[in-house]
């Protein structure tokens, strides 16, 4: 007998009616996506819980993947037995013995939600506890502070036994809050902003501005890799690569250098807004933090924000750089973010950017030249990739097959 199930618990706060069903369906989908490599695993929904049937898969590999999925409050390895007291006793013993870690003291917590089962919870506690004590050495019961809590849940379809629980990532299942367009630069901040938006259930459409030949293949690969990391937390993500070279050249040629950064950001926001509309995304997410750099002063945000009335979510707005770095290290984007490739924000960077741009000036400078055709062209020739969808990425699939 071995651990053959994973029991998944999710927060039930604010979950009523249709919400709950959406929540559960999304969560199930996201779990299925995260463990798609484990083909024999099956995800099942029961009352307020989910189970993964492990079949022949390695439990630890599956557990590792569950840790990243938003919407899960905790999960445990479980053994399933028939609703028979002898089977339950033996299952509980095996579950206890096969658990990794300190196993000196334990307590049993039985719950009998299937009432036709003839033994009451209190009695079941004693039966199971006695069986474990009889078949182990140097193990004692400690009901207040046990190393292991052996939880026995008798349900209609069978009894599930778990020992200990692992904390989930919390948050809401990605996709339950709707869609947002994430401005993804390749730096440290924007992937973290995307991650935090996903934590609250937002599904992401990533938008990246690419200026070949001034930004190279590696810069682009870096953004693909960052997006790929974000897929761990939700599901596959569409990455929209905007050809930005011509527009950037036009800005460089027609806008005074002190305002070129501000105007470039306004253009980026206009383009992102149009992509958001096309994809039915209801907000834009970016990695701005108040006052962190010259372009992120309140005046600058005020001037850039003028071009749109779509909500702009700034999950990092009050965070310190160090806090952002910590999250990026924790989610695994930091090492990629710090790779030193030029992105479109750094190549034409003037040395004399204003830190307090004014709306009226920005508008006046923009009126001096017709940028609209350039914006249209950039939007029209957006290249869209689906990251995290292996079938679509043939090269990567070929490489995986080699290994």
């Amino acid at each position: 007998m071995k651990y053959d199930h994973i029991l998944i618990r999710y927060g039930e706060l604010a979950l009523k009616g249709k919400n709950r069903k959406d929540f559960e369906n999304k969560l199930k989908e996201n779990i299925q996506f995260a463990i798609r490599e484990h083909r024999t695993c099956k995800v099942k929904r029961t009352y307020g819980r989910m189970f993964i049937e492990l079949h022949d898969e390695n439990p630890n590999d599956v557990l590792e993947k569950l840790k990243h999925i938003f919407g899960i409050s905790s999960f445990s390895l479980a053994m399933k037995t028939e609703n028979d007291v002898e089977a339950i006793k033996e299952g509980a013993l095996q579950a206890f013995l096969q658990r990794e870690g300190n196993n000196r003291t334990f307590k049993v917590s039985a719950r009998r939600s299937y009432k036709p089962f003839p033994i009451r919870s209190q009695d079941l506690n004693q039966h199971v506890g006695a069986h474990i004590l009889r078949n182990t050495e140097n193990v004692t019961v400690d009901v207040h502070n046990p190393d292991v809590e052996v939880v026995v849940e008798v349900r209609e379809q069978g009894t599930y036994i778990t020992c200990g629980r692992i904390d989930g990532a919390g948050g809401l299942p990605v996709g339950t809050a709707g869609k947002v367009a994430l401005m993804l630069s390749g730096g440290i901040d924007s992937p973290v902003a995307g991650y935090l938006a996903m934590k609250r259930g937002a599904e992401i459409e990533a938008v990246h501005f690419h200026s070949p030949p001034y930004t190279n293949e590696r810069a682009r690969k870096k953004v693909e890799d960052l997006t790929n990391i974000l897929t761990k937390f939700g599901g596959s993500i569409r990455l929209h690569i905007v050809p930005f070279t011509e527009l950037q050249k036009a800005i460089h040629a027609h806008i005074p250098s002190s305002y070129s950064m501000t105007i470039m950001r306004r253009m980026m926001l206009r383009i992102t807004e149009r992509i958001a509309q096309k994809q039915d995304a209801k907000a834009v997410v970016n990695g701005e933090s108040l006052g962190q750099v010259a372009s992120q002063t309140l005046e600058s945000m005020h001037t850039i924000n003028e071009v749109t009335n779509i909500p702009i979510l700034r999950p990092l707005v009050t965070m310190d750089k160090q806090e952002v770095v910590e999250v990026s290290e924790q989610i695994g984007t930091y090492d990629i973010s710090v790779l030193p490739y030029e992105d479109c924000c750094t190549i034409f960077l003037p040395s004399d950017s204003v830190t307090k741009p004014r709306r009226d000036k920005a508008v006046r400078f923009e009126e001096a030249f017709d940028f609209e055709p350039y914006i249209n062209e950039a939007v029209q020739y957006v290249e869209t990739l689906t990251i995290g969808n292996e079938q679509e990425n043939k090269t990567e699939q070929k490489m995986n097959d080699l290994l």
């Binding site: 190279n216 293949e217 590696r218 690969k221 090492d335 090269t395 990567e396 070929k398 490489m399 995986n400 080699l402 290994l403």
Partner: protein, 381 residues
């Protein structure tokens, strides 16, 4: 052919060769180049690193690709000794290491380092408490082979690691070349900082290997150049060889899960049968040995002669370790175990792969019965 010299090298698996060949032509770019072929080669390199790291249950950033066991041992030993020489110049190892470790230590001794060589018992095993007792204020490195390449003796790496955890300033390296396929170490549990692995011992290709370097371990490189492998090992990466190694490691672990029990049984069978051969003295310990190595001495007989007789019958084994078996020298491992000069002079190593079957061992035994009495008569042993 009955090939029983798998501790010297193994036959590369066909799937591994396929990976090598496809990777070598499809992803030939230099991983450091900026263009697409370069980026693709780098992507494959990264994937191979991730795959290997996940099998070893370590982080990708902790895996450095090398040319094999000798380089891994040299890099781990000299790299740490040199980097931390200002803190101390005392190093600890055992008397039964592979020559690539022992010779590295010998060079360091010539440079003014002091090396403690721990003794072993009759089974060829060091005592964990001896390691701890040898630790001094100026000790910077402990390096102990995991599975002995001549006798198969497993050293108590986990127990040593546990004890050394109390000395956070020194580094612990293990030579895992013989253990990687048949006695895989749990690197986290073993608490090692450095671990050497070589691909051609598990059906990968020669010229490829890995050094696990735990995060936070600083060492000085042997090769300087273009800054590859986190500046620890410069030189254009052998991408196809590395991809092939990742694949071989995965297949080897699958085989290990399936075949480990059978291999122990095979070894037990061979040990039993050797008992029945007049004069045969087994040097591999009864317990605590890797399942794929059996070392046996025929005192009075010259091992080269036995090898010749066997190879004529298409059975291939070796004298002690392949690296030094061309030299007509006694085995330093068996000498160190105190089993006597005669046994050290006449040791033969028989080593299995996952594919070795019982019929092959039976054939070997038959041939022993045939040739050993004959040789004894001729050589007067």
């Amino acid at each position: 052919m009955v090939y029983l010299d798998n501790s010297a090298t193994t036959l590369p698996w066909q799937e591994v060769l396929d990976t090598y060949q496809q990777a070598a032509s499809a992803y030939f770019g230099n991983p450091s180049s900026l263009h697409r072929p370069g980026v693709e080669a780098e992507t494959l390199l990264g994937k191979a690193r991730e795959a290997a790291a996940s099998i070893l249950k370590v982080k990708s950033s902790e895996v450095i690709f090398t040319s094999g066991g000798t380089e891994g041992n040299n890099l781990a030993i000299k790299g740490t000794a040199v980097e931390h020489q200002n803190r101390g110049k005392h190093l600890i190892t055992s008397a039964v290491e592979h020559p690539s470790a022992l010779e590295a230590f010998a060079q360091l001794e010539a440079f003014g380092y002091e090396v403690t060589y721990l003794p072993v018992n009759k089974e060829g095993r060091i005592r964990p408490e001896d390691v701890e007792n040898a630790v001094r204020e100026d000790t910077t490195l402990v390096s102990i082979i995991h599975v002995n390449n001549e006798t198969g003796t497993i050293q108590p790496i986990e127990e040593i690691g546990k004890r050394l955890a109390a000395y956070p300033k020194l580094y612990f390296h293990t030579d895992h070349v013989q253990g990687a396929a048949h006695v895989p170490l749990d690197l986290g549990k073993a608490n090692v900082d450095l671990c050497t692995i070589s691909a051609h011992k598990f059906h990968g290709l020669k010229g490829t290997g890995m050094l696990y370097i735990k995060d936070g371990t600083v060492l000085s490189p042997l090769f300087h150049g273009g800054g590859q492998e986190q500046k620890i090992r410069a030189g254009t990466e052998n991408v196809p060889g590395i991809a092939a190694m990742a694949k071989a490691l995965r297949l080897a672990r699958e085989q290990h899960t399936k075949e480990a029990k059978r291999m122990y049984e095979l070894q037990k069978y061979l040990l039993q049968e050797l008992e029945k051969i007049d004069g045969a003295q087994v040097n591999t310990p009864q317990t605590g040995a890797a399942p794929h190595i059996v070392n046996v001495s025929f005192p009075g007989l010259k091992p080269e002669v036995i090898i010749q007789a066997l190879t004529k019958r298409d059975i291939h084994v070796s004298t002690k370790s392949a690296c030094s078996s061309k030299l007509n020298e006694p085995s330093h491992v068996i000498e160190a175990a105190g089993l006597g000069q005669e046994r050290a002079d006449s040791a033969i190593r028989i080593s299995f792969s996952f594919e070795t079957i019982k019929e092959e061992i039976e054939k070997l035994i038959d041939v022993f019965h045939e040739i050993i009495p004959e040789m004894k008569k001729v050589m007067g042993a």
